[in-house]
Amino acid sequence: MLRHLLRTVNLFDTAKTVLFLCFLAGCNPSGERGQVRGPVYYERDDPRSLDPALSTDVTTGEMIALLFDGLTQFDGDGRLLPALSDRWTADRTGRRYVFHLRAGVSFHDGRPVVAADVKRSFLRVLNPQTHGGRVWPLLPIAGAGDFADGHASDVRGIEVMGDTAVAFTLTEPLAVFPKFLAMPVASVVPSPVPADFGQHPVGTGPWRFVAWQHDDYLRFAKNPSYWGGAAESESLTVRIVPEALTRAAEFLSGRISVVEVPFGETKKWEQEHPDWLKRRPALRPVYVPLNNRRGPLRDARVRQAINHAVNVPEILRTVWNGRGALAAGSIPPTLGGSDSARRPYSYDTTEARRLLRAAGYPNGFSLQLWRSGTNVEMGRVAQAIQAQLAAVGIQVEIVSRDASSMREAVRKGDTDMAILDWWADYPDADNFLYPLFHSASFGPGGNYSFYSDPVTDSLIMVARRTVDQSAREALYARIDDRVYQAAPWIYLWFPVDLWAEHPSIEGWDVPVIFNGQRWTRVRVTAPR
């Protein structure tokens, strides 16, 4: 037997072994790449580009925040801080802002930052030829819309005042405007931009660009002359790792520095590695928009009944591993304008039935609930909602589609219900009211429930114009309360993000807003 075995195996060894070795020798022999000294972060997908003008998603935004600065910035706690502008003033009307540039800041290629760069950066974002897709943070500037439409050759609301200051005149007062300028798309870029800018960016940020292997990794080196103090590590690597369990494996083998704990692993990690874990309440409601323009959902009593019929605390505990805080409104509890005294809708099927009878649906009706096929956890939440609504006579059909198809249907208003979450672009209650409930935001703007109430609309606009912070927050609380009573959503919860930091890493924390973590204080303390 063994004789036969050896002979047969020999048949293949010579030529093929040689071939195999040649082949392997041809592979990139950079197996040592995993041994980089600096911290290693990850993204799920390749960023769109490293050009701030194309920054329309979280991944791209996080990379832009490493390389570039805006006039303002957010820190990890979501506070608005000075950045390229070290001070700014607003006139009493809140319509005109003057931003003074920090002195002595240069781009990574040595060119000094001047006020004209700010203007040209913004024109670039607004220019339709850029194909960026995110212009709304700059549209409040007077004349920006005309320029974006090609009706004007300049934006009259941006005024360059010498090299050191730039003034913005807005179409109407907007208290949150300085926060808009902290978004990645409003980063300041050199002008003219270098060739192939999206692949070889030059910014002012804490990290300089070194290399980008698509779908594989990005490499950054510290900017030693960063105006905010040079980073503590020499280099930062961002790997592209699409699969959650692979990311966990990479983390456990010490090849990435921090990782979001995979949902299914929550209990295990909490028991085995409690000292690695970091929690942070997210600025992100998980919710089900109830299409206020379709069938029985037009009646507020029906929508309230649905809120009473869903046992949210139980779903949060069982399906979501308790990783969240119940929502009694759309403003996250950590933001001004959130009312901690407001009680969530009680789980009360009797009340739900009474409301349905009062609305004229004693025998219930049927609805569709859309979910994204790739999001397993959201799918389980959908099933739980389906089961609980059945108990009060509402038959729910779950429609599972890929994210893109679902997004299109939701935006067109073709869905009764969908299970969604909403990520903050800027940490302010306005980000949870204007896009989600103003009638000007129907569909693509973010108002997926098509909630429409003239009083709410005007209150939101009043709040946007209100410069006084506490008055503004009082207004937000009032608006949130008004909307909450009308129940345009099933209010679910605000997730608490759960991350693990490798024991060899120091100085990292979960940022409350995606571009609030810039990795300058993170360092590797022990060999991995």
Partner: protein, 306 residues
């Protein structure tokens, strides 16, 4: 032979044109909006309308197809809506990596699969036969996804012999190649065993033994060579599996190849990227089929093409 190749290559043009038409039409029928994916979660209708215009998405479909076809004829697959990079460049950057992975998986499949099959066929019903067929059975049944994660847990997390994922030297190639190749090993082993069992009782094998040839020459030169045709067929067909299977394998192992590019393009409804990838993969597929036919003739002189 050259004439044959030329004729065959010409015949691929209508095939590829058909692929282009079908892909284009299907992509315009499926729900989902590329502009919505570009602008992200919050956008104003004016911006969306402007972008649609800029990308010619508001033109009639035949006109759009004309634009696209004209580009393809000139060797331009267009630019990705999302990244704004040329699709051809993106594919050219990723394809060598997919090829590397597929090549390694194929080598693994050929060496292990055929070896297992031949050994099994020498002593049908024997211990090795039963063992290798068990492996083949198991290998065919396990889903790629599961095998991949299991390999990562065992070799990267528990034993720490290999990196869990990523692109780099040989160490990075082992686990994905094994994952991608498992199914093929199993399938090839069963195929080879069957073909060998058909050939081994033949007269010419008996003659070869009677001539006093060593068992090694009998099996390797005479029996296996005659059993090769079905094996080549399976290998040719398998190339399709390597290309599609690479989507899962590349995702699990963070391998920066074409599979992941296609997947992301589909998720983002990045029409130029999807169309370009489909066309590119079709070309590869057609070429591999051609190569398979040529190999037939090489392996068996009785196969002649006129």
């Amino acid at each position: 032979m050259l004439q044959l190749l030329g004729r065959r290559l010409l015949a691929t043009i209508p095939t590829l044109f058909g692929v282009l038409v079908v892909a284009f039409l299907l992509l315009n029928v499926v729900p989902g909006d590329p502009v919505a994916e570009m602008v992200g979660e919050r956008a104003d209708s004016a911006t969306i309308a402007r972008l649609r215009g800029e990308l010619h998405l508001d033109e009639p479909i035949p006109v759009q197809f004309g634009h696209y076809l004209w580009g393809v004829v000139r060797g331009d697959l267009g630019r990705s809506y999302i990244t704004q990079r040329p699709v051809l460049g993106d594919l050219a950057e990723r394809f060598p990596k997919t090829l590397q992975l597929a090549g390694a998986a194929m080598l693994l499949a050929v060496t292990c699969g055929i070896t297992l099959g031949v050994i099994a066929a020498i002593r049908p019903g024997g211990l090795i036969d039963r063992f290798s067929m068990l492996i083949a059975y198991v290998g065919v049944s396990f889903p790629v996804y599961w095998v991949g994660l299991l390999l990562i847990l065992l070799f990267a997390v528990a034993l720490r012999w290999l990196p869990p994922s990523g692109y780099g030297g040989i160490a990075f190639l082992v686990l994905p190649a094994l994952t991608l190749g498992t199914r093929s090993i199993a399938f090839l082993a069963r195929m080879t065993r069957g073909a060998m069992l058909d050939v081994l009782p033949s007269d010419f094998v008996r003659t070869a033994r009677a001539k006093g040839l060593s068992e090694r020459r009998v099996i390797g030169r005479h029996a296996l060579r005659n059993a090769l045709l079905p094996i080549i067929t399976v290998l040719g067909l398998d190339v399709g599996n390597y290309l599609t299977g690479s989507i899962l394998t590349e995702t699990i192992f963070s391998w920066p190849g074409v599979g992941r590019y296609v997947l992301l393009a589909i998720q983002k409804r990045d029409l130029p990227a999807i169309q370009g990838s489909i066309l590119f993969l079709s070309v590869i597929f057609v070429l591999v089929n051609l190569l398979t036919d040529v190999l037939y003739a090489k392996a068996d002189p009785r196969v002649a093409y006129d």
